[in-house]
């Protein structure tokens, strides 16, 4: 049995790939649900209704999709240039705490329409800086950025925890430590009243389109794609590899930092160490499910958010641990990898 490289990738197969991957993941997840002793189809039904079945569910799913879209974009942009940014989780937290600190101590008095964009920029900048450190280590010392971005996640979260315990502590909160909140002017208005869904959704969608346009229409997009596909060929053609990677890192880190910033000004208003339920890591799965395509990221984020929200609801009413969502998402990644392989290779006897 041999694998032979395909010359052409049939479009139907390419579109079907994520769907097949998700189907396989859901089937395996069904097995795990059965292991829990719960009726499988009823459980899936509860997941769907939990994600989409009511106004509350729908807004919750969309709200959850916002940070996932942003971290998904962050991963997609980086991976396309073969920059392995696994540090979105830490970049997210750093963006969040920067926003809280800046709003509470610096810009608090400014009106919303001035303050919010500034805060978002600050959050993005924090994420950028965190990713530029591993990139510098790669360019200067040839250190693989996978491990350094991963290790910095822990450092960043500890750093945030330190600030929340100390300088940025909210003196009025009792119980769990949390940061000072952003001022009320700095909160994003809601898209749907009495829900958690805010204008961050529009921002995320706009950014997805923007990233797509940059990647497909600009010279920078062409160069970063070349750098990811064949660095030696890109260098020969005069693509400034270092400069291109720096720009890619700024965009990727910025998007991840933005994810944290948006969570603060859109939903939470303050920062705790529980702000993110693994959005940074899930963003990688989102990016892979979307085959690194920015517009696909939106759909993949929606699916992933639905999984999490639905499984939460299902887990509360049936006796299935809500970790089933994490398992399903992880399985989707693995089956997506295999599915991508079969779009590129066919089996030959």
């Amino acid at each position: 049995m041999r694998f032979e490289r395909r010359d052409h990738r049939p479009l139907a197969l390419v579109i079907a790939t994520p769907l097949i991957a998700v189907a396989v993941a859901l089937t395996l997840a069904g097995g795990l649900i059965a292991l829990a002793g719960a009726p499988v189809f009823e459980a899936f039904g509860k997941i769907v209704t939990g994600a989409f079945g009511s106004r509350l569910a729908l807004t919750e799913t969309l709200a959850r999709a916002i940070p996932l879209t942003l971290t998904g974009l962050a991963a997609a942009v980086a991976f396309r240039a073969r920059l392995w940014n696994i540090g979105a989780e830490g970049q997210l937290y750093l963006g969040a705490i920067t926003v809280a600190g800046v709003s509470a101590h610096l810009l608090g008095g400014l009106p919303g329409f001035v303050q919010i964009p500034l805060l978002l920029i600050c959050g993005a900048a924090a994420g950028m800086v965190l990713l530029l450190i591993p990139l510098w280590l790669r360019l200067r010392f040839q250190v693989d950025e996978v491990v350094t971005t991963l290790l910095l996640n822990f450092v960043a979260i500890l750093f945030v925890s330190m600030l929340i315990d100390g300088v940025l502590k909210d003196p009025m909160a009792f119980g769990w430590p949390q940061s000072v909140p952003v001022t009320s002017e700095a909160m994003l208005p809601k898209l749907v009243a009495r829900s958690r869904l805010h204008w961050g959704l529009v921002l995320a969608l706009v950014l997805a389109v923007a990233v797509h346009l940059v990647q497909s229409r600009t010279a920078f997009g062409l160069q970063s794609r070349a750098a990811g596909l064949n660095p030696a060929g890109a260098v020969f053609a005069g693509v400034p590899l270092g400069r291109t990677l720096v720009l890619v890192a700024m965009i990727s880190g910025g998007l991840a930092g933005l994810a944290g910033a948006v969570e603060v000004v859109g939903v939470m208003s303050y920062v705790t160490t529980e702000l993110s339920s693994g959005y940074g890591y899930s963003g990688i799965v989102v990016a892979m499910l979307a085959n690194l395509h920015p517009l696909g990221v939106v759909l993949a984020a929606l699916f992933t958010a639905a999984m999490f929200v639905g499984a939460d609801a299902m887990g509360r009413s049936m006796n299935v641990p809500s970790y089933i969502a994490d398992v399903t998402v992880a399985l989707s990644l693995l089956s997506m990898l295999v599915a991508i392989f079969f779009t590129q290779y066919r089996i030959r006897r």
Partner: protein, 509 residues
């Protein structure tokens, strides 16, 4: 010569749509040296890879020493007494010579390697065949010639009685090659049977007892060496009267590119040592040398991907500092890279994207890529340079080697460059593509471009170049005029033997 030790019968092998080997039969007698001759893509390496078990044939049988050979397993081939010296060495630079040789020779269940016994056996073989090595040297520290010796010793260590050598002199100087063939003849005299793959007619005629010619996957002829001629072999290889373009007489113009004392230091090693040359408009300056002597660093410095450490460079009479790739292209310099797959193109990107990537400023307005202009540019290259196998938006990976090279040439020549730096432009191409590439280079020369041709192929350089300099160990010999030079002299230059007093003489030509 006596009984047959090897019998290859009706072997065929298909890769996708290509029939690489078509019903080939071949025998080898004890103590015989057979040369497998053919141009690139004729199927020689495929056939030998099948023999050694790297590939499984679709049909056919192989018998070695009277026993049928189980296909597709290198282990079986080794056990049957067949050894292979690969063109791209099957060696690990990070391991020592002894470790490279010992790999796979002991049972994996042994709790401890018998290094002492292995070392003794290796040194005995080394002495017997006159192939000197240091068993504890790290392989990556050895010269190419020494590494090849290890590759051969590996096969002999496994008690090979049939030895297959794939292009054994591709990376050797003339002197080293002569030594290699003396060793091979000595081995044959000691009872080994040898097959070597080559496309160099001189060495085939001088060393082989029998010559088998492959063309298009088929065996087209078999000759005894004394009963044939270079001309006949060349024609058999290509299938028609061979005609490679030759330059016609021309008078060169003024100096457009001049290097004086160029040096390059990379990772603590002097890659280029005081390189000097003068390149004139309307001429081809050939830089001849065995690969690995500084060609890639030289092309890199001139092409903008490497920064020189010292020395002067004058472009159209003006001194220049380090030029980036964009500046090099802007200045009207075209570059043909040595490795077209890794450097020349981005395989997964479209033809039009590959066509414009190195000249993006021309095809991008305010940062946005002008897709329509790019497609048009690619279309003009495809039409003007006979690039077959794809449209402007199809992926470059699908093109054959020859068509890829035509694309690379085309995207440079369509802009009428004043200078063309071509590194190994015809490497790995079949005769038809080689002729096309050479014709384009001569066309550029006729149009007044200055061409720096870096090549390891003596025939190519002698046919195309007006003046020739040899590159050895990062140094450049003084130029000689191609009209007066002969193969013997050039061979000596390639081995580093030249007369420093010749400097300046041919520059005045």
């Amino acid at each position: 010569m006596s009984e047959n030790v090897l019998n290859i019968a009706n072997v065929s092998k298909r890769f996708g749509t290509t029939l690489a080997n078509d019903d080939i039969s071949l025998t080898l007698a004890k103590g015989e040296i057979v040369a497998l001759l053919g141009e690139n893509g004729a199927g020689k390496t495929t056939l030998m890879s099948i023999l050694f078990g790297h590939y499984t044939p679709d049909s056919g049988e192989i018998t070695a020493f009277g026993q049928p050979l189980p296909p597709g397993k290198p282990k079986a081939a080794i056990r049957a007494g067949i050894g292979m010296v690969h063109q791209h060495f099957s060696l690990a630079p990070n391991l020592t010579v002894l470790e490279n040789v010992m790999t796979g020779t002991e049972s994996l269940w042994r709790p401890a390697s018998n290094a002492r016994g292995a070392r003794a056996k290796l040194m005995a073989i080394s002495d017997r065949f006159g192939l000197k090595v240091d068993p504890d040297a790290r392989l990556g520290d050895l010269s190419v010639g020494e590494q090849q010796r290890v590759e051969i010793l590996k096969a002999l260590y496994n008690d090979a009685r049939i030895l297959v050598l794939d292009e054994p002199t591709a990376v050797l100087t003339n002197i080293e090659a002569e030594g290699m063939f003396r060793t091979l003849k000595d081995m044959a005299a000691q009872g080994l049977s040898l097959i070597f793959i080559s496309h160099k007619l001189d060495e085939v005629m001088a060393t082989a007892h029998r010559i088998v010619v492959l063309r298009g996957g088929r065996m087209v002829a078999e000759r005894r060496a004394e009963a044939t001629s270079k001309a006949e072999l060349a024609e058999l290889m290509v299938g028609r009267a061979v005609h490679r373009p030759r330059r016609e007489a021309a008078t060169p113009g003024e100096v457009v590119l001049e290097a004086e004392g160029l040096t390059l230091r990379q990772g603590g090693v002097e890659r280029l040592k005081s390189i000097s040359f003068r390149l004139r408009a309307g001429e081809v300056l050939g830089i001849i040398g065995v690969s690995g002597n500084g060609q890639a660093p030289l092309a890199g410095v001139l092409g903008g991907t490497l920064r020189r450490s010292g020395g002067d460079l004058r472009l159209f009479g003006q001194p220049v500092g380090h030029l980036s790739v964009a500046e090099v292209i802007e200045a009207g310099i075209g570059r043909i890279p040595e490795d077209r797959n890794h450097q020349g193109v981005i395989g997964e990107m479209a033809i039009w994207e590959n066509a414009i990537l190195e000249r993006l400023p021309r095809f991008a307005r305010r940062g946005l890529v002008d897709r329509k202009a790019g497609l048009g540019f690619a279309r003009r290259i495809i039409d003007g340079f006979d690039v077959r196998g794809g449209s402007p938006s199809s992926r470059v990976r699908l093109l054959s080697g020859g068509n890829m090279q035509k694309l690379i040439l085309g995207r440079n020549l369509i802009e009428h460059p004043k200078i063309l730096i071509a590194a190994q432009p015809a490497r790995g191409l079949d005769e038809g593509a080689v002729a096309a590439v050479h014709e384009r280079i001569l066309e550029a020369r006729r149009a007044g471009a200055a061409v720096l041709l870096i090549s390891e192929d003596l025939d190519e350089v002698m046919a195309l170049a007006d003046r020739i300099q040899a590159i050895v160990g990062g140094r450049l010999s003084p130029p000689v005029s191609a009209d007066t030079a002969n193969a013997r002299q050039l061979g000596l230059m390639m081995a580093g033997e030249w007369d420093e007093s010749m400097k300046g003489a041919a520059d005045a030509v």
